[in-house]
Symmetry: C2
Subunit: 144 residues, 2 copies
DNA sequence: ACCTTATTTGCATCTCATGCGAACTGCCAA
DNA sequence: TTGGCAGTTCGCATGAGATGCAAATAAGGT
């Protein structure tokens, strides 16, 4: 996603208002690599702006995602994760501590996909590919 | 997952009972390639066994998954999907009709993963890889 | 400074899923 | 065949995550 300053301009030019709540979330999301949930962001935001509502956090995240400034994913562990990194990348998830990290994978577009039945061949037009590696992060590998 | 007959033996040998509800679900799941939700299975089961409870469907699905007879996935579209195909395979999801199909992908273990920072190299032990292709199925490609 | 319009917020509502316990039943043992 | 224990079913309560709604509030152009 773009910088808080750029988002400020973008919002105004769309007739959207730049509120303190939104400015705070712009800042909390910029360069955020933790793939936070809405509730996680709400916790951090509340510390800096007591009284901000969870509803507003959801609202702003949904708006940003709709504008293409955020991606969102449903990893199996409950709430949806938001990601300001909208470039092409994939994820590794630690099954022990649930940490989600960005990874970059070569040759994704060259993956050779074969359907179960030959009759299904070429029956699907791929628009995007999501890869999730599950395993153990360095920190959790020791504490087996 | 194994056949209803095999599951019957397996359940009994674990001290678990083989009820009519479970037998029905064994049958409905065997060779099922639709990646159904619990609610979807409940609908089909109810037609054949009026009075079966949604709670029992969830219970049995959870038990089967725990025994390794089913996989479960959270694609973004709401409820968890169950999959009796426990072999190594991946999925393509139609963004238009939400149909989920099995696909088999070559070279998954040879994917070259590069973390964002060199310092993170070799910091993750991959246990499994899930690939989801999103796009349009043959049927929905026409009706753009 | 004013006024229009977007936003915030609290509360209700919704979906999906699990906890709980009374009633029920599979199935083994006598 | 029958008795009885242990595992199951089922309905209802509860919980998490997320969205609908409308009154109160505030941004920002004029
Ligand atoms: Mn990411
Ligand atoms: Mn599958
Ligand atoms: Zn970890
Ligand atoms: Zn389709």
């Amino acid at each position: 996603m773009r910088t808080p300053a750029e988002l400020t301009t973008a919002f105004r030019s769309l007739g959207l208002k730049v509120t303190p709540q939104r400015q705070l979330l712009f800042r909390l999301l910029h360069d955020n690599t933790t793939h936070p949930t809405a509730e996680a962001l709400f916790e951090v935001a509340s510390a800096q702006m007591p009284g901000i509502s969870l509803r507003t956090v959801y609202q702003t995240l949904t708006d940003l995602a709709g504008m293409g400034e955020l991606q969102s994913f449903a990893f199996g562990g409950g709430a949806i994760r938001f990601d300001p990194n909208v470039g092409a990348h994939h994820h590794q998830v630690c099954v022990s501590c649930d940490e989600i990290s960005d990874v970059y994978v070569d040759g994704v577009d060259q993956l050779n996909v074969s359907p179960r039945n030959a009759s299904d061949a070429h029956s699907f037009t791929v628009a995007s590919t999501d890869i999730v590696f599950r395993g153990r992060c360095m920190r959790c590998a020791d504490t087996v």
